[in-house]
Symmetry: C2
Subunit: 347 residues, 2 copies
């Protein structure tokens, strides 16, 4: 274990399913567009530019910890950063979301991908991790993250966000050898990338398989699970891994089988049912509907209580949304949610 | 029961969970854009125009039955047609999907909705049903359909397709009385509309809750289930009701509780697991991934076999995709799928 500080913090203790004084809470995209501070920075800098300025990335990472009183920070970065050194023409275009100008659709495209060493190429991320740890000064643990092999492969293949993932699925239907090669390559890169974040100071890591919900259980098992499992198995021992996905209520047993200390549950399944499905020998994270933060604070509190009730005082629950904070979310509602989690779960 | 013909057809028998000679199969959007005949008609007529020309609607409905040899026809129409007489400015704009120019966001908007009698206003649909029945000449049963209360309400409130359904959810968070009023009004209209289709000759009906997958189980139970249940309970006795939704693996018990003779399962859950969840005392429909039709025919056949294996010869399985046929799907792959279902399931 590279770093022993904060090991008894409720967030890290909950990852290990130890009893804690209150349920730890953080939010995906807690440093996002719904925050005025962030919008002000984005008015001055492009998204990629911000990611590559470690001082600013650290500042963005720390702000919500101070503002919201959440129990973990997550490094300001993006799951697609790892694709840039592959030379596929990644561009964060305005409005439509990131685009990959040279998507991977066949064996030739795969051969054309540039090889690179995550130790060297993505040093701005590690620098940001170091600076964030210094700025946090052990107030809360810092989470590193990466996209999971399937979600990154789909982005590489589709070239943009997708509704049906037709190109990605076509690749494994028609050229499974290319698919397996690509996923293996990605999983090795992701493992190294996460371990570098850990070496720089990340105290837990989250693997985002945001798009796994489009898969049949059989396809997940055959084309995805081995690679996610290999990433998780390769993470520096002692560092908790959170396995996140969305829309995967019918896939939870397979997702559990891929490993991880904490399994993310979205709001499309009741937390108690989801936890029973993945097994009580693993921690869970979730699962408030991000849209619920548009409800009045009283209703937010009622919904927080419902999630906590379903967790039922069992050790190993980290409170979170089922997906990222939405851009128009009122900041005071987020604060009310965090307060409600702390108050209602105090033991 | 208004119509006794074809009662022993495998499709209707399977709806009643009776043993059949082979597993019946049809596809959502089997008359859609992937078919050249349909694209040719759409080059001449607008979408709404086609819906309102019963001769053409009947022709479009019958074509895939002849071309694909499927075991049911579904009337050519659209779930939003029922919203047009409400005076909300429904427009089928090119490219972006239908738009509602005056969305319902509050009590005032709700009061402004025009009242109408589905017996009178939507007669072009019933006319198309009659003409289709005549053209089908009892070769296969004809399915009528409508949008479910939640999906129609969401469209009315959002005004267009949506990613997060923030306006819809905000309405039930902040003005539940308006929500309940709207849903009740819609469910009464939908019930009448479906019964008119049945009176005109529809031999089964499908209720499309295409967007229910964005809901928490609790919200489904409280804000949706009572209305879906009321529609299903009000359908002309003896006519099978198929309850369709997608992305609802974590909601299946609630969906079952709303009623219906056949529960639609999408590809995000294995068919055997989904069937066990909804209970073996109800029929199921599904559940091939629509994208699988882009795979080579040999792979399609393997995937069809897997779905049939999971149904395991249990009476009450109707083969279908988990959602509609995608626009670029090769027609010969669809034909190969239908043939595979018939051959591999022959008893």
């Amino acid at each position: 274990m590279p770093n022993r500080s904060l090991q008894n913090h409720p967030f890290l203790a909950a990852c290990r399913r130890e009893a804690v004084r209150y349920t730890p809470v953080w939010l995906m995209r807690q440093a996002g567009r719904y925050m005025e501070d962030y919008r002000a920075l984005r008015a001055q800098y492009g998204f990629l530019e911000l990611c590559k300025k470690p001082d600013l990335a650290a500042e963005i990472t720390v702000t919500p910890v101070e503002r919201l009183k959440v129990d973990a920070a997550i490094i300001f970065a993006d799951i697609l950063l790892i694709l840039e050194p592959m030379g596929v023409g990644l561009e964060y275009s305005k409005g439509d979301g990131p685009v990959i100008h040279r998507p991977v659709r066949n064996g030739k495209d795969l051969d054309d991908l540039k090889d690179f060493d995550p130790n060297k190429e993505l040093s701005f991320v590690y620098e940001a991790v170091k600076k964030t740890r210094a700025a946090l000064d052990d107030r809360v643990p810092l989470i590193g993250f990466a996209g999971a092999p399937f979600t990154l492969a789909s982005y590489l293949i589709e070239g943009a966000g997708s509704r049906n993932y037709t190109h990605a699925k076509k690749l494994y239907y028609t050229a499974p050898e290319v698919w397996h090669c690509l996923l293996q390559r990605l999983s090795q890169l992701i493992t190294k990338y996460l371990n570098c974040q850990i070496a720089a100071g990340a105290q837990a890591v989250q693997l985002f398989d945001s798009w796994a919900g489009c898969l049949t259980p059989g396809d997940y098992e055959h084309f995805v699970l081995p690679y996610t499992r290999s990433v998780i198995a390769g993470i520096t021992p002692g560092v908790p891994v959170i396995s996140f996905s969305t829309g995967t209520a019918g896939l939870l047993k397979h997702i559990r089988a891929a490993g991880g200390d904490v399994i993310g549950l979205d709001w499309r399944i009741n937390l108690d049912e989801g936890w029973a499905t993945v097994g009580h020998d693993v921690a869970v994270q979730g699962n408030l509907d991000p849209v619920a933060l548009f409800a009045p604070p009283k209703e937010i509190r009622r919904r927080v209580a419902d999630v906590l009730d379903r967790a039922g005082n069992r050790p190993g629950h980290i409170f979170n949304l089922g997906h990222g904070v939405l851009p128009e979310t009122p900041v005071d509602h987020v604060i009310a949610m965090v307060e409600a989690v702390h108050e209602l779960s105090a033991r």
